[in-house]
């Protein structure tokens, strides 16, 4: 019955993700989360008290779970095996493309919920606050990666379009005006 056609992560990429060591991935994602929170103070403000919550992000086409703890001065993201799901307040589940679509403001969270492409369980208010905070922040993953991996910027600029083409995933905002500051 769902009528949103969302791309699944291609199998070769999913297999590659399976081989990823989770500890270094957690460090990388934590660094990215801290940068996002630092560069977008509105995220913390809109989360309010919900920033203390533990968000289990279940990207259903990835072989691991992500635990987002945005609170305090040291936000953290942990990549965790599906065999050992951690304690959490809110679980949000959907395809990687659904999460990226919401991150980049190209997909509507309610529409994903209506079509059953997004599932939320646990503390609904915290999930809503996170979604609204991210939507207002007008984030761009490619731009954030470019800032985080500054010396590798030219390499990223070459690689990301190919990754997008091969994976079918949008890693950047489609509506960012050309030449807009990152």
């Amino acid at each position: 019955m769902t009528n949103l056609t969302l791309p699944h992560l291609p199998r070769p990429l999913a297999l590659a993700a399976k081989a990823m060591p989770l500890a270094p991935l957690s460090l990388l994602l934590t660094r990215l989360a801290r940068q996002l929170m630092r560069r977008n103070p509105g995220l913390q403000r809109r989360l309010g008290e919900n920033a203390r919550c533990r968000f289990l992000l279940d990207l259903t086409d990835l072989p691991f779970l992500l635990l987002l703890e945005p609170g305090g001065a040291t936000p953290r993201v942990s990549a965790i095996s599906r065999l050992r799901p951690p304690a959490h307040d809110t679980r949000i589940a959907g395809l990687t493309s659904a999460f990226l679509g919401m991150l980049h403001g190209s997909l509507d969270g309610d529409a994903l919920f209506f079509s059953r492409d997004l599932v939320i369980e646990g503390d609904t208010a915290a999930g809503l606050a996170l979604r609204n905070a991210i939507d207002d922040a007008e984030l761009d993953l490619a731009a954030e990666l470019s800032v985080m991996l500054k010396p590798l910027d030219p390499l990223l600029a070459c690689t990301l379009p190919s990754v997008e083409r091969l994976s079918g995933l949008a890693l950047h905002r489609m509506d960012r005006p050309a030449g807009a500051p990152l």
Binding site: T2, D110, F114, R116, V119, E121, G122, L130, D135, D136
Partner: protein
């Protein structure tokens, strides 16, 4: 006709204006507006910046202060009106009679619109609001037919604004207590219908169960579209029948009725959804701006392609072209 679009965040406001909204409505991040949801709405600086952004592109901003003040807490609502005027808002959208009187007396230069929350559904009450409080526009409740709207417009001198897309409230708005009964929080006084803090979803037996304040209000089978967790669109068993007792979980889409609404004398078309994302706002604003331009040019209304954004993934023309059962 004027297109009035929702904005729950500054980013949604910018998206609405860039997509063709001539007017945007929004609210402060507290109980003074009827979309008081977590992570949503504007602080004072954001409101001023949003108004400046809109005005810089020829668009207007309306500030919804459309809940009913609690006894003893009126200063919160009075401050909201004063701060909306300071931010440069083009109008405030009010529902409470006392608040309308306060605004008329203390902010006479600030245009006043009557919120749908006032449930003003006949010429006598609309004329009363216009004469007593200088209301310039009334947002009509979503329970009127197009013919009834035309009849109202023949007997009033103020502008009318009607909902053409989004979630449907099928009750006498501002007076519904269903959500209050289930949660202890009022849509009309706390600004939250089905507050997220009282909503719980669970994947059970392959289906989705939605509970509000502990009451199970839907069980949606796997693969079926999920509705909002509102009691008025809940699925209940009554006697030997199970179904949607009050209203089906569908969304309003009155695109095809725009020419009829224009003939009925409607000034502004309103999109529901301050709780929705900037993706929703931009897509719906673009679609309705195209429809309004088509109507002005005498062209047929475009076929809407917005079902995927709709609750129930299905559209209705609501009360505009329907008789109640």
């Amino acid at each position: 006709m004027e297109l009035v679009c929702p904005a729950g965040t500054p980013a949604a406001l910018r998206a609405a204006v860039e997509a063709g909204a001539q007017t945007v409505y929004c609210g402060f991040a507290d109980e003074t507006n009827a979309r008081n949801f977590p992570g949503l709405n504007f602080d004072r600086d954001e409101m001023a910046a949003g108004v400046a952004f809109a005005h810089g592109r020829g668009a207007k901003v309306l500030v919804a202060i459309n809940t009913f003040p609690h006894a003893g807490a009126e200063p919160l609502w009075h401050r909201a009106i004063a701060d909306a005027e300071t931010a440069g808002a083009d109008a405030v959208i009010l529902a409470d009679i006392g608040l309308l009187a306060h605004a008329a007396e203390h902010h006479p230069g600030l245009r006043r619109h009557l919120s749908v929350q006032a449930a003003a559904a006949n010429p006598d009450v609309i004329n009363f609001y216009a004469e007593a409080f200088g209301v310039k526009r009334v947002v009509l409740p979503r329970v009127l037919t197009v013919d009834e709207i035309a009849a109202i417009n023949r007997e009033i001198d103020v502008e009318t604004e009607v909902f053409v897309f989004g979630g449907l409230c099928v009750m006498a708005e501002g007076r519904c207590s269903l959500s209050s009964y289930a949660t202890g929080q009022s849509p009309n006084m706390n600004g939250v219908c089905s507050p997220a803090s009282h909503v719980a979803y669970a994947e059970e037996s392959g289906g989705l169960t939605a509970r509000l304040g502990g009451f199970t209000i839907h069980r949606t089978a796997k693969g079926q579209p999920a509705p909002y967790p509102t009691l008025c669109k809940g699925c209940f068993t009554s006697g030997d029948q199970t179904g949607h007792v009050f209203e089906d979980p569908v969304s309003l889409d009155a695109t095809q009725l725009i020419p009829a609404l224009a003939r009925a004398g409607v000034t502004a078309l309103k999109i529901e959804g301050r709780q929705r994302s900037r993706a929703y706002v931009a897509e719906v604003a673009r679609s309705f701006r195209a429809a309004i331009e088509a109507q002005a040019a005498g062209r047929p209304m475009p076929k809407a392609a917005l079902a995927k954004l709709s609750e129930g993934q299905a559209a209705t023309t609501g009360a505009y072209a329907k008789t109640w059962r």
